[in-house]
Amino acid sequence: MLDLLQQLGRAALGLFQRLGRGNLFLLQTLASTPGILLRPGLVIRQLWSVGVLTLVIIVVSGLFVGMVMGLQGYNTLVDFGAEESLGVLVALSLVRELGPVVAALLFAGRAGSALTAEIGLMKATEQLSGMEMMAVDPVQRVIAPRFLAAFLSMPLLAAIFSAVGIFGGYLVGVGLLGVDDGAFWSQMQDKVDFHDDILNGVIKSIVFGFVVGWIAMFEGYDAVPTAEGVSQATTRTVVHSALVVLGLDFVLTALMFGD
């Protein structure tokens, strides 16, 4: 009985220790982020591996998500004779929800896991300690540019996802199923509000980029420096990012569209 209690207590203490370390780590990263602006070359190289290389999966899945929504939405709306609203359906669901959320999930899978594995391996091979020996701050040299790159590329990726998805919905709806071209766009422009829908979607994706970047960096930096530890940390990055993104999405949606 007491053993069980002790285990529970140890688990709880471990959880809070990790949370505390994560928050301190975030503060440290944020504090060293302004300094990295003096060396934009580091950020640009990370933007390449975090942003540009994620572009392919974002564009392809955005296109297919939009096309599937075009098909499914048409099949439902045609029963009510409202197939002209297909543009509204596709645009609103992409801009408000699917764009930021699916892009963040793909981003966590494609870029977040790579970042964690990279940093975890740097720690396992003692490159981070080596930097400290040379009086180079590893948080500033390694972590901050990657964090900044994740933070910057997420809104762009989400916007590209939404735009490509709407184009996919247009291809299927107008090109394949014969929805009227003008009605598709004009109803969309009528119903989609710049401030309420587009800006809120962008805010969501900024929050997701921040959170996914934070989780990926921290898991890598905090990984047990063994092969097994790095692999576990990579898994945790993907799982935790997905859970946090979906949970935060509900909270943000309730705050933005809840009234």
Binding site: G41, I44, R45, L47, W48, G51, V52, L55, F80, A82, A91, V95, S153, P155, L156, L157, A159, I160, S162, A163, V164, I166, W185, M188, Q189, D190, V192, D193, F194, D197, I198, V202
Partner: protein, 173 residues
């Protein structure tokens, strides 16, 4: 990898991302239509506005000329006051223009339809439309229909007499 390739790739990525945001703003949302913040306001009072909302369209002959700007309730006249914002290019409606609240389609959203009258003087910024027609509320229509059905039954007219009346009315009306 070559630094130049990386920088070109990142530049392209950022440009495409910003272009996507721009496209969302201009092509998908209503930013291009609300960008012209000009326009003039006219108000109209209604007994019942039904499901009219702020930003509902205002149309003339089916052409959208503006949007509903503010919906308020006047405690002195006990009527709803709808302020509409009409775009500047559609200036000069006659003073006796009438406003009605209609529904687009069977289940569609409600909108304000303006119908220009014959007056020579045109309405000013902040002017008030005198002739209005309220929204039709489905429950009221159904209620009236049921009531008239019940009233018909109460008079106990034989059904054949009723069918005789109808051909008489049609040529006359």
């Amino acid at each position: 990898m070559n630094t130049r390739t990386v920088e070109i790739g990142v530049g392209l990525f950022v440009a495409v991302g910003i272009a996507a945001l721009f496209m969302l703003a201009m092509q998908v949302s209503n930013l291009s239509t609300i960008g012209s913040s000009g326009g003039y306001r006219i108000t109209a009072t209604f007994e019942n506005i039904g499901g009219l909302k702020v930003r509902s369209p205002v149309t003339v002959s089916g052409v959208r000329v503006g949007r509903v700007d503010v919906i308020d309730y006047d405690l002195h006249t006990f009527q709803a006051v709808v302020t509409m914002k009409i775009e500047d290019q559609y200036k000069g409606f006659p003073e006796d223009t009438s406003a009605s609240i209609f529904t687009a389609g069977l289940l569609g959203e409600q909108y304000v339809a303006l119908e220009p009258g014959g007056s020579m003087t045109s309405i000013e910024d902040g002017g008030r439309l005198q002739l209005t027609q309220s929204a039709l509320v489905m429950e009221q229509i159904i209620g009236q229909f049921l009531y008239s059905m019940a009233a018909d039954k109460k008079t106990d007219q034989p059904p054949d007499q009723k069918t005789e009346q109808q051909p008489d009315q049609q040529p006359g009306g």
